[in-house]
């Protein structure tokens, strides 16, 4: 009896989990399906699901019209660069807050997070003017810096949470053995916190990849990443859903694949510390 209840419950849980999963995945699935339709099929009412003449026409048009590889390369540089640069700052910052806290540590953490509460548009003009002065407009290095700065609070917070789980005694022991500060962070702390660091980096790459305010406002032709590539397929007058879907599918494909392969790492990192 007890066993059948458990089985039933398990089945129910599985069904619910799949249902929620599909619901969340549905917009992406619909985008991918639409990218293989004609513009007329994309807006058909009632909607067509799977049985239509699948066409690669939209991908051909998008390839022909835009230089996809340049947008992709810009995205890779900006997302990757901002993450690496961010980690260089966030790891030491999180280390000091986790292992040598001061009375103000909590306040500093909260203050850092509070910068995320300011709407980005509020600082658009100051940053734009600074970028003009420094000649950073439409440059990958400028965008890398901005994205690093806006994601830094989240990086520090995440790393701080992971580092708090690591016993300070281990670091103390390393120090007793004569490790300097740099060695302590690089050779003792970092290897132990690999899951946390990996998931922080992954989350950051995703955030930077999808960032669509600064990447659209601070770029023109040269440094524009995939967000600008997608934005170029929306139209004020005319049908564009199928081509936009093709562009979106091409833009999310790389990050979707990275996410798929690293999901174990990501889940492990995100739940690290939460189970104890």
């Amino acid at each position: 009896m007890a066993r059948s209840v458990t089985t039933q419950r398990k089945t129910l849980n599985t069904v619910i989990a799949w249902g929620i999963g599909l619901l969340i995945f549905f917009p992406i699935l619909w985008t991918i399906l639409t990218s293989f339709k004609t513009e007329a099929q994309a807006i058909a009412d009632p909607p067509v699901w799977f049985f239509f003449d699948w066409t690669l026409e939209n991908y051909r048009v998008v390839q022909e019209r835009s230089n996809y590889s340049r947008f992709l390369w810009n995205s890779v540089i900006i997302a990757g660069g901002s993450t690496l640069l961010g980690m260089m700052v966030a790891i030491p910052a999180a280390w000091s807050m986790a292992f040598v806290p001061s009375t103000q540590t909590k306040n500093i953490l909260l203050w850092m997070l509070s910068t995320k509460m300011l709407p980005a548009v509020g600082v658009l003009y100051p940053i734009y003017l600074i970028f003009i002065q420094l000649g950073l407009l439409d440059s990958r290095i400028g965008l890398t810096l901005v994205l690093m700065l806006i994601n830094l609070p989240i990086m520090v917070w995440m790393l701080y949470t992971y580092f708090k789980e690591i016993p300070g005694e281990i670091l103390e022991a390393a120090r007793m053995d004569g490790a300097g500060l740099r060695q302590e962070i690089l050779y003792v702390l970092t290897p132990m916190a690999i899951p946390g660091i990996a998931s922080t980096m992954l989350l950051n790459i995703i955030l930077a990849w999808n960032e669509a305010f600064w990447t659209l406002n601070l770029t023109a032709a040269r440094a524009a990443p995939l967000t600008a590539f997608i934005a170029s397929y929306s139209s004020p007058e005319g049908l564009f859903y199928a081509k936009l879907s093709a562009a979106s599918t091409m833009a999310i494909a790389p990050i979707l694949i990275i996410g798929w392969f690293s999901q174990k790492q990501l889940v492990r990192g995100l739940t690290f510390g939460a189970v104890k």
Binding site: E39, A40, I43, G81, G135, I141, S232, L239
Partner: protein
């Protein structure tokens, strides 16, 4: 170590990308619509002829507007040529943000530009943006449904004709709405349409002393008529419908009529996308019986040069190419006359080949019926038909548009919507010092 190497690599990449573009490359900001994309694909001809390379920044309309405003206001210098509309041109020209196009060569034939377009894109007698394509609005209707209803659409219908046709064609059982018109909030969305209706009913946004006039009986009559049309014969969820939503509905055969931009004519008659391509007729935008202002608007997407560009001469050369008579001939030769960007030049409409395009005559008639310098029955202090060419308009138009959209959604009566709109427009204008 590998971390450090990667970081160096990323920094080096960034530095390489920070190096500026070469001297003879123009950066062009534009919107994604068929005519612009066609121009992009034909632009290799320009590059071959002149050696000037082109970089394209194509953005969604609202993002583009925000992006170029921000760049031009801060002298960011990101763009050498930008696509702007009729609303921005006189305002930006007055602030010296744009380069005057007086330097265009004689063979450009500036007098060939349609007078209404030239008027809307000029400031103090000088042209500041060259029209790439222009549009007005008109009635598109289903000839088969009209025939079935035993009605005939006059070439120049009145609003009464429209209401009668909408009632006759509405067939809720078969999911056919008598009329589809804009309901989504925005100065370039529902307010463009509602303002033209108001103009045709004898209403105006401001009197000659800049006092808001939305509490006038003419406004109430116009807005009530608009609301009744949508409530009785419009599609469900009309409060969210803009150009593309109505285009979709019309192409699927869900609308008896659609009053919107003339540029839509080429979409609804295209058999690849439209299920009703063979059954579309065109008529002038309506007027109110006994009044001579018609409800048609005037808009142009035009190419302008921001002040402060380092490449003024090259930019001028590009505009000369893209908006020339020769460019229209190039498009006709490659893609046929129906795909030539409409509404910019008189000579196009005098061309016998173009006269065979089914919507050509009606487009020209609609554009000629629009006068941005004299948009209303009573005199007004502003320029613009479906907008008011003052910097505050984008804000007040959008706020008022939200009230009217709420009305279409059934949350407000026309009286309430107008009362609220009048209050907020008055406040905004007072704050702006009018």
């Amino acid at each position: 170590m590998s971390l450090r190497k990667s970081l160096y690599a990323a920094t080096a990449m960034g530095l390489i990308s920070a190096v500026g573009a070469s001297a003879d490359t123009l950066t062009i900001a534009t919107v994604n619509n068929g005519d612009m994309i066609r121009m992009q694909s034909l632009s290799s001809e320009f590059t071959e002829a002149t050696g000037i390379a082109l970089e394209w920044v194509i953005l969604e309309e609202n993002i583009l507007r925000q992006r170029v405003t921000q760049d031009i206001a801060t002298s960011g210098g990101q763009f050498d040529v930008m696509t702007i509309g009729m609303y921005e041109t006189p305002i930006w020209a007055a602030r010296d943000w744009l380069v005057s196009l007086d330097g265009l060569p004689d063979d450009y034939d500036i007098d060939d530009i349609l007078p209404a377009m030239r008027a809307g894109l000029s400031h103090e007698g000088s042209l500041y943006a060259a029209p790439f394509y222009g549009e007005s609005s008109m009635v598109m209707y289903r000839t088969d449904l009209m025939e079935a209803a035993g009605l005939e659409m006059p070439e120049a219908p009145t609003w009464d004709d429209i209401a009668e046709a909408a009632a006759a064609m509405t067939d809720r059982d078969n999911n056919i709405n008598g009329i589809c018109i804009r309901g989504r909030a925005g100065w370039g969305e529902n307010m463009a349409f509602i303002t033209t209706v108001a103009n045709s009913f004898g209403a105006r946004w401001f009197d000659e002393d800049w006092n808001a006039q939305l509490d006038s009986p003419e406004w109430l009559e116009a807005v009530t008529f608009y609301n009744d049309l949508l409530q009785n014969y419009g599609p469900a969820g009309a409060a969210n419908n803009g150009f593309n939503e109505n285009l979709t509905l019309f192409q699927q055969g869900r609308c008896g009529m659609w009053i919107d931009a003339t540029v839509a004519a080429s979409f609804v008659t295209n058999p690849n996308d439209s299920t009703v391509a063979d059954h579309v007729g065109f008529a002038l935008a309506p007027n109110k019986d006994g009044m001579d202002k018609r409800a048609n608007w005037l808009w142009a997407w035009a190419l302008a040069i921001p002040a402060g560009t380092q490449q003024e001469a090259a930019a001028m050369e590009f505009i000369n190419w893209a908006t020339s008579k020769e460019y229209l001939e190039l498009v006709a030769e490659r893609e046929g006359w129906a795909n030539v960007p409409p509404g910019s030049r008189t000579s196009l409409y005098e061309n016998p080949d173009y006269a065979e395009v089914p919507f050509a005559a009606m487009t020209l008639q609609s554009i000629n019926a629009a006068d941005p310098n004299n948009p209303t029955v009573d005199p007004v202090p502003y320029v613009g038909i479906q907008y008011v060419a003052i910097p505050e308009w984008a804000g007040i138009g959008t706020s008022a548009g939200q009230e009217f959209s709420a009305m279409v959604a059934g949350q407000l009566t026309p009286e309430q919507a107008l009362q609220r709109a009048q209050a907020l427009v008055t406040d905004e204008m007072e704050a702006a010092g009018y």
